[in-house]
Amino acid sequence: SQTIHQWPATLVQPVGSPLSLECTVEGTSNPNLYWYRQAAGRGLQLLFYSVGIGQISSEVPQNLSASRPQDRQFILSSKKLLLSDSGFYLCAQSPSLFSGRAEEQFFGPGTRLTVL
Protein backbone atom coordinates (compact mmCIF):
# COMPACT_ATOMS: atom_id res chain seq x y z
CA SER A 1 0.00 0.00 0.00
CA GLN A 2 1.05 3.59 -0.54
CA THR A 3 2.75 5.60 2.21
CA ILE A 4 3.34 9.32 2.29
CA HIS A 5 6.13 10.89 4.30
CA GLN A 6 6.36 14.57 5.12
CA TRP A 7 9.36 16.30 6.61
CA PRO A 8 9.66 18.10 8.95
CA ALA A 9 6.63 17.50 11.15
CA THR A 10 6.90 20.89 12.83
CA LEU A 11 8.75 24.03 11.83
CA VAL A 12 9.11 27.50 13.31
CA GLN A 13 10.68 30.07 11.02
CA PRO A 14 11.22 33.86 11.16
CA VAL A 15 9.59 36.16 8.65
CA GLY A 16 11.76 36.55 5.57
CA SER A 17 13.53 33.22 5.91
CA PRO A 18 13.44 30.53 3.20
CA LEU A 19 11.31 27.39 3.35
CA SER A 20 11.60 23.87 2.06
CA LEU A 21 9.03 21.19 2.89
CA GLU A 22 9.47 17.72 1.51
CA CYS A 23 6.96 15.05 0.61
CA THR A 24 7.92 11.56 -0.54
CA VAL A 25 5.63 8.76 -1.60
CA GLU A 26 6.18 5.00 -1.45
CA GLY A 27 4.31 2.08 -2.92
CA THR A 28 3.06 3.69 -6.09
CA SER A 29 4.38 4.88 -9.43
CA ASN A 30 3.58 8.01 -11.41
CA PRO A 31 1.15 9.39 -8.85
CA ASN A 32 -0.59 12.72 -8.98
CA LEU A 33 0.77 14.83 -6.13
CA TYR A 34 -0.79 17.75 -4.28
CA TRP A 35 0.11 20.41 -1.73
CA TYR A 36 -2.71 21.75 0.46
CA ARG A 37 -2.65 24.39 3.17
CA GLN A 38 -5.01 24.39 6.13
CA ALA A 39 -5.36 27.53 8.24
CA ALA A 40 -6.33 27.03 11.88
CA GLY A 41 -9.88 25.68 12.17
CA ARG A 42 -10.48 25.96 8.43
CA GLY A 43 -10.81 23.74 5.40
CA LEU A 44 -8.06 22.76 3.00
CA GLN A 45 -6.94 24.98 0.16
CA LEU A 46 -5.20 23.41 -2.83
CA LEU A 47 -1.90 25.18 -3.55
CA PHE A 48 -0.18 23.06 -6.21
CA TYR A 49 -0.65 19.80 -8.02
CA SER A 50 1.58 17.76 -10.28
CA VAL A 51 0.80 14.99 -12.76
CA GLY A 52 4.45 14.16 -13.47
CA ILE A 53 8.12 15.06 -13.05
CA GLY A 54 8.67 18.74 -13.66
CA GLN A 55 4.95 19.38 -14.23
CA ILE A 56 3.52 21.81 -11.69
CA SER A 57 0.21 23.67 -11.71
CA SER A 58 -0.49 26.49 -9.30
CA GLU A 59 -3.95 27.10 -7.95
CA VAL A 60 -3.49 30.40 -6.11
CA PRO A 61 -1.03 33.26 -6.51
CA GLN A 62 1.37 33.45 -3.58
CA ASN A 63 5.02 33.57 -2.64
CA LEU A 64 5.27 29.78 -2.52
CA SER A 65 6.53 27.49 -5.26
CA ALA A 66 6.61 23.75 -5.80
CA SER A 67 8.91 21.36 -7.60
CA ARG A 68 8.87 17.69 -8.48
CA PRO A 69 12.45 16.58 -9.13
CA GLN A 70 11.63 12.87 -8.95
CA ASP A 71 8.51 10.81 -9.61
CA ARG A 72 7.72 10.34 -5.93
CA GLN A 73 9.14 13.54 -4.47
CA PHE A 74 7.28 16.81 -4.14
CA ILE A 75 8.81 19.92 -2.58
CA LEU A 76 7.17 23.12 -1.39
CA SER A 77 9.45 26.15 -1.18
CA SER A 78 9.57 29.84 -0.47
CA LYS A 79 12.39 32.34 -0.78
CA LYS A 80 10.97 34.67 1.89
CA LEU A 81 8.27 33.58 4.32
CA LEU A 82 5.38 35.85 5.30
CA LEU A 83 3.37 35.74 8.51
CA SER A 84 0.37 34.64 6.45
CA ASP A 85 2.24 31.51 5.38
CA SER A 86 1.67 29.98 8.81
CA GLY A 87 -0.55 26.91 8.70
CA PHE A 88 -0.72 23.17 8.37
CA TYR A 89 0.64 21.86 5.08
CA LEU A 90 -0.59 18.56 3.75
CA CYS A 91 0.80 16.56 0.88
CA ALA A 92 -1.53 14.17 -0.89
CA GLN A 93 -1.28 11.63 -3.67
CA SER A 94 -3.69 9.88 -5.98
CA PRO A 95 -3.11 7.20 -8.57
CA SER A 96 -2.46 8.43 -12.08
CA LEU A 97 -5.42 8.59 -14.40
CA PHE A 98 -4.18 5.49 -16.18
CA SER A 99 -4.14 3.42 -12.99
CA GLY A 100 -7.82 3.70 -12.21
CA ARG A 101 -9.45 5.11 -9.07
CA ALA A 102 -7.61 8.37 -9.70
CA GLU A 103 -10.33 10.09 -7.74
CA GLU A 104 -9.10 8.79 -4.40
CA GLN A 105 -6.63 11.00 -2.59
CA PHE A 106 -4.50 9.89 0.32
CA PHE A 107 -2.89 12.36 2.66
CA GLY A 108 0.41 12.54 4.47
CA PRO A 109 0.75 13.39 8.18
CA GLY A 110 1.30 17.10 7.51
CA THR A 111 3.78 19.80 8.53
CA ARG A 112 2.83 22.48 11.02
CA LEU A 113 4.54 25.74 10.02
CA THR A 114 4.64 28.76 12.29
CA VAL A 115 6.10 31.98 10.95
CA LEU A 116 7.08 34.50 13.64
Binding site: N32, R42, G43, L44, Q45, E59, E104, Q105
Partner: protein
Protein backbone atom coordinates in the same frame (compact mmCIF):
# COMPACT_ATOMS: atom_id res chain seq x y z
CA UNK B 1 -16.27 27.09 -10.02
CA UNK B 2 -17.47 24.57 -7.51
CA UNK B 3 -18.32 25.43 -3.93
CA UNK B 4 -18.94 23.18 -0.93
CA UNK B 5 -20.86 24.40 2.09
CA UNK B 6 -21.00 22.84 5.53
CA UNK B 7 -23.43 24.90 7.55
CA UNK B 8 -22.73 23.29 10.92
CA UNK B 9 -19.38 24.46 12.36
CA UNK B 10 -19.84 22.29 15.47
CA UNK B 11 -21.99 19.36 16.51
CA UNK B 12 -22.12 17.02 19.46
CA UNK B 13 -23.69 13.64 20.05
CA UNK B 14 -23.91 11.14 22.87
CA UNK B 15 -22.02 7.92 22.55
CA UNK B 16 -24.05 5.18 20.80
CA UNK B 17 -26.46 7.65 19.26
CA UNK B 18 -26.82 8.70 15.63
CA UNK B 19 -25.76 12.03 14.14
CA UNK B 20 -26.10 13.55 10.69
CA UNK B 21 -23.68 16.08 9.24
CA UNK B 22 -24.88 18.31 6.40
CA UNK B 23 -23.16 19.26 3.18
CA UNK B 24 -24.40 21.08 0.10
CA UNK B 25 -22.50 21.88 -3.04
CA UNK B 26 -22.88 23.93 -6.16
CA UNK B 27 -21.78 22.75 -9.58
CA UNK B 28 -22.86 22.71 -13.18
CA UNK B 29 -21.14 19.38 -13.74
CA UNK B 30 -23.12 16.17 -14.21
CA UNK B 31 -20.34 13.70 -13.48
CA UNK B 32 -18.41 14.09 -10.24
CA UNK B 33 -17.42 12.48 -6.96
CA UNK B 34 -18.24 13.41 -3.40
CA UNK B 35 -16.27 12.51 -0.31
CA UNK B 36 -16.30 12.76 3.43
CA UNK B 37 -12.93 13.01 5.13
CA UNK B 38 -12.25 12.79 8.84
CA UNK B 39 -9.48 14.72 10.58
CA UNK B 40 -8.94 13.62 14.21
CA UNK B 41 -6.78 15.63 16.64
CA UNK B 42 -3.70 14.00 15.09
CA UNK B 43 -4.65 16.03 11.96
CA UNK B 44 -4.24 13.03 9.69
CA UNK B 45 -6.83 13.25 6.89
CA UNK B 46 -8.70 9.97 6.57
CA UNK B 47 -11.13 9.09 3.81
CA UNK B 48 -14.42 7.99 5.37
CA UNK B 49 -16.72 7.42 2.41
CA UNK B 50 -17.11 8.28 -1.27
CA UNK B 51 -20.03 8.58 -3.66
CA UNK B 52 -20.08 8.61 -7.44
CA UNK B 53 -22.69 11.02 -8.78
CA UNK B 54 -23.87 8.57 -11.43
CA UNK B 55 -24.84 6.04 -8.76
CA UNK B 56 -28.31 6.41 -7.29
CA UNK B 57 -27.59 4.05 -4.43
CA UNK B 58 -26.25 5.73 -1.32
CA UNK B 59 -22.79 4.64 -0.23
CA UNK B 60 -22.35 2.80 3.05
CA UNK B 61 -19.20 1.93 5.01
CA UNK B 62 -19.97 0.10 8.25
CA UNK B 63 -21.45 2.73 10.63
CA UNK B 64 -21.11 5.51 8.06
CA UNK B 65 -23.67 6.16 5.36
CA UNK B 66 -24.59 9.05 3.11
CA UNK B 67 -27.82 10.54 1.88
CA UNK B 68 -27.03 11.74 -1.64
CA UNK B 69 -29.67 13.94 -3.21
CA UNK B 70 -28.31 14.92 -6.62
CA UNK B 71 -31.15 17.23 -7.62
CA UNK B 72 -30.90 19.10 -4.35
CA UNK B 73 -27.07 18.99 -4.45
CA UNK B 74 -27.01 17.64 -0.94
CA UNK B 75 -24.63 15.07 0.51
CA UNK B 76 -25.12 14.39 4.21
CA UNK B 77 -23.17 11.94 6.36
CA UNK B 78 -24.90 9.77 8.95
CA UNK B 79 -22.85 8.19 11.72
CA UNK B 80 -24.65 5.43 13.57
CA UNK B 81 -23.72 4.07 17.00
CA UNK B 82 -21.33 6.98 17.56
CA UNK B 83 -18.05 6.12 19.28
CA UNK B 84 -15.64 8.32 21.20
CA UNK B 85 -13.10 7.76 18.43
CA UNK B 86 -15.43 9.46 15.98
CA UNK B 87 -14.59 12.80 17.58
CA UNK B 88 -12.94 14.75 14.77
CA UNK B 89 -13.33 17.46 12.19
CA UNK B 90 -15.31 16.18 9.23
CA UNK B 91 -14.83 17.65 5.76
CA UNK B 92 -17.09 17.27 2.77
CA UNK B 93 -15.27 17.42 -0.57
CA UNK B 94 -16.16 17.57 -4.25
CA UNK B 95 -14.25 16.55 -7.33
CA UNK B 96 -15.14 16.85 -11.00
CA UNK B 97 -14.69 13.62 -12.87
CA UNK B 98 -12.31 15.26 -15.30
CA UNK B 99 -10.37 17.46 -12.90
CA UNK B 100 -7.44 15.15 -12.29
CA UNK B 101 -8.38 14.55 -8.68
CA UNK B 102 -8.48 18.20 -7.64
CA UNK B 103 -10.61 18.35 -4.51
CA UNK B 104 -12.72 21.27 -3.30
CA UNK B 105 -13.32 21.13 0.44
CA UNK B 106 -15.96 22.57 2.71
CA UNK B 107 -14.98 24.42 5.86
CA UNK B 108 -15.60 21.42 8.08
CA UNK B 109 -17.80 20.37 10.99
CA UNK B 110 -16.24 19.68 14.37
CA UNK B 111 -18.00 16.63 15.83
CA UNK B 112 -17.65 15.80 19.50
CA UNK B 113 -18.89 12.47 20.83
CA UNK B 114 -19.67 12.68 24.52
CA UNK B 115 -19.48 9.69 26.87
Amino acid sequence: AQTVTQSQPEMSVQEAETVTLSCTYDTSENNYYLFWYKQPPSRQMILVIRQEAYKQQNATENRFSVNFQKAAKSFSLKISDSQLGDTAMYFCAFMKQTSGSRLTFGEGTQLTVNP
